[in-house]
């Protein structure tokens, strides 16, 4: 038998001759009178909008509302004397993020490619130049440097110890408890009541906790709905269908009012905890359906092949079916995480001062009357940054798990 490898064919693919900019524009934008008209109209509308927005942002807008309340936006009514704890938390997260980036990119030829350097430069320029971040820009710049340094270190470490990935995951897990400690205090730090948790810190904390809780729950519900045991199947299905039939706001109110009813008198779980539980219970029902779609997309032959090798059901599930199902479901799962992140804005309705809630209470201050556009634009950018980061992350994971090239 002879094996033909791609190397046996030495001919390179034909070189694609690039079009010049004018030829490209002619081919893609002005191929006939209708396309030309469309191009002119669309470009006109967009540039008009962009010009209006820029001129408003640079002349009419009064951005002072943001730097004046920067602490509130980020941390709510968290005591300002304890801000170093929040900075320490940010440093931990930046360090871990950089480290993970370096470890994941250990096989890439250059970690700091031109695109990455330009990106980092833009972030620094934005921090220095953009007025809203001015009060903290001196401390934000070292954070960017920390990410870069940790990335370089992570790359070196990743090359030396290939098994370091597990430890980085463990560090992320532990960082959650470090965050809880740094925000809430106790164990030697001044305690901060959850009434004073707020702003972006509260948004991120509830989102991360909600995601961490809803994922295993959703997974179990998805498996339960496909279980061979009728009672498990019925209960899972009933849960999923019931929760999906109730709006999140209703569930949040029920969480505030009803969860205490089920618990012994005197043990009133914290407001934030109740909100996180309601968020997680809600998202788990949707997540379960995403995971179930992934499970159904795994061919039956995979199960049969695993069984015919003598693997038992849990091993088959854990090693063969779930890895493939979750990989298929990644886009839907991350979409659900993004929804959950945005759903945290509803917590302001039950009286928690998360980012949007803080924005609203600042707008209620007579000193900043009518600064809606500035505040909401600022908030939109913050939400967008985190959602886009998640979506980018999911794309990277998908690329990494693709085994069909």
């Amino acid at each position: 038998m002879t094996t033909v490898t791609p190397d046996s064919f030495s001919s390179a693919p034909p070189e694609v001759v690039g079009l010049g900019p004018i030829a490209w524009a002619k081919k893609n934008l002005f191929s006939d009178w209708f396309n030309s008209l469309l191009t002119v109209v669309i470009v006109g509308i967009f540039s008009w909008g962009a010009i209006r927005l820029t001129s408003w942002a640079l002349t009419t807008a009064q951005w002072q509302v943001i730097p004046n309340n920067f602490g509130l936006f980020m941390t709510g009514t968290f005591p300002s004397g304890l801000y170093p704890r929040i900075w320490a938390l940010l440093a931990i997260i930046c360090g871990l993020a950089g480290l993970s980036w370096g470890v994941l990119g250990r096989n890439v030829s250059t970690l700091f490619s031109r695109g990455v350097l330009i990106g980092l430069g833009l972030v620094c320029a934005f921090i220095v130049l953009f007025p809203p971040t001015r009060p903290s820009s001196l401390k934000l710049l070292p954070m960017v440097a920390l990410v870069a340094i940790a990335a370089a270190a992570g790359r070196q470490a990743g090359r030396k110890f290939p098994g370091i990935g597990k430890w980085v995951s463990l560090a992320w897990f532990l960082s959650y408890f470090a965050a809880l400690w740094l925000i809430g205090g106790g164990l030697g730090l001044t305690p901060v009541s959850t009434n004073d948790w707020g702003g972006l810190v509260l948004t991120l904390f509830t989102a991360v906790s909600g995601i961490a809780l809803c994922f295993p729950l959703g997974l179990l519900l998805a498996l339960g709905r496909r279980s061979a045991l009728p009672v498990v199947r019925w209960l899972s299905t009933a849960y999923i269908e019931l929760v999906r039939g109730v709006p999140l706001v209703a569930l949040l109110f029920m969480g505030q009012v009803m969860i205490p009813l089920f618990l012994p008198i005197g043990s009133r779980p914290d407001r934030i905890l109740r909100a996180i539980i309601a968020l997680a219970l809600f998202s788990a029902a949707y997540l379960a359906e995403n995971v179930r779609a992934g499970l159904q997309a795994v061919p039956r032959g995979q199960n049969e092949a695993a069984m015919s090798l003598g693997l038992n059901t849990p091993t088959t599930l854990g090693l063969i079916v779930l890895p493939q199902a979750l990989k298929i479901a990644i886009p839907a799962i991350v979409g659900q995480f993004i929804s959950l992140f945005q759903d945290t804005t509803l917590l302001s309705i039950v009286g928690l001062a998360e980012l949007l809630g803080i924005g609203r209470s600042i707008l209620a201050n007579p000193a900043y009357l009518g600064r809606y556009a500035e505040v909401y634009l600022f908030l939109a950018v913050i939400y967008w940054i985190f959602c886009y980061a998640m979506s980018l992350g999911s794309r990277k994971i998908e690329e990494k798990l693709n085994t069909n090239h």
Partner: protein, 259 residues
């Protein structure tokens, strides 16, 4: 192609010790279709048994009852002395001793070729990783895939994938191998490389049950050929008699259609 392929074909050291004994097996699908209507068959140690028949005859379903991938409602099947029952322990014990190769390969796409082959020895036989890998590399060399050990199945051709699937089953050191139309999903030019591996396996004394439409393979390698049709076992014969002088009219008709 590989070092274990010899000139000799057919006439294996066929013993009289039965490995699989199926008695009056009957099966209905969930929709009530009567797919197996009392099939009895014995597979002896070291023999190569080829099962032929038109599509829908129940031949695939029948061999899939041997490792309990398909439940059956009446009759008994004994594999290596253990009767297939509803006891999960028994079923898992039987599956450890029965290898199976599927029409669609069913390799695990998220694992490398080597991981595909070592998975069951590590998790079912509890071998240490180093031993499992050593055995796996030997098997991959035997089926001619050694250079591809660290690739993913999606990067291999159909013929290569099917050879990996054979190596994966062999890694469990089964007492009998079941082949469920192993070449039906392959491009014509890849059929041979898979049949060559199966031929070599037969020559090494492996007990094999093959559902296949490959007449050449049946003629040269099989010790016995059976024909199934409509849920019945129609004819059981030596390959020479089966192809040149079949007893049953149904067999003659079937052969006239495929030859």
């Amino acid at each position: 192609m590989t070092q274990f392929q010899t000139e000799q074909s057919s006439a294996h050291q066929m013993g009289t010790e039965p490995v699989i004994v199926a008695r009056d097996v009957e099966k209905w699908y969930d929709n009530g279709f009567h797919v197996l209507k009392g099939v009895s068959m014995t597979v002896y140690k070291g023999e190569v048994l080829v099962v032929m028949g038109p599509s829908g005859s129940g031949k695939s379903t029948f061999i899939r009852t041997f490792n309990a991938l398909e439940p059956y409602q009446k009759g008994t099947i004994e594999v290596d002395g253990t009767t297939i029952s509803h006891d999960l322990k028994d079923i898992e014990a039987i599956r450890r001793e029965v290898g199976m190769v599927f029409q669609q390969f069913n390799l695990f796409p998220h694992l490398t070729v080597l991981q595909n082959v070592t998975l069951a020895p590590i998790w079912v036989r509890r071998w240490p990783k180093s031993k499992a890998q050593e055995v796996a590399m030997q098997l991959l060399e035997r089926v001619g895939i050694l250079e591809q050990a660290h690739k993913f199945p999606g990067q291999l051709s159909g013929g290569q994938q099917q050879r990996v699937a054979i190596a994966r089953s062999l890694a469990m050191q089964p007492k009998v191998m079941l082949f469920d139309e192993p070449t039906s999903a392959l491009d014509p030019e890849m059929v041979r490389e898979v049949l060559d591996v199966m031929r070599g396996l037969a020559d090494s004394g492996m007990t094999m049950v093959c559902v296949t439409h490959e007449v050449g393979f049946a003629r040269e390698v099989a010790d016995r050929v059976v024909l199934m049709d409509g849920g019945y076992l129609v004819e059981e014969n030596t390959p020479q008699e089966f192809f040149s002088n079949p007893r049953e009219e149904r067999t003659q008709k079937f052969l006239s259609q495929i030859l």
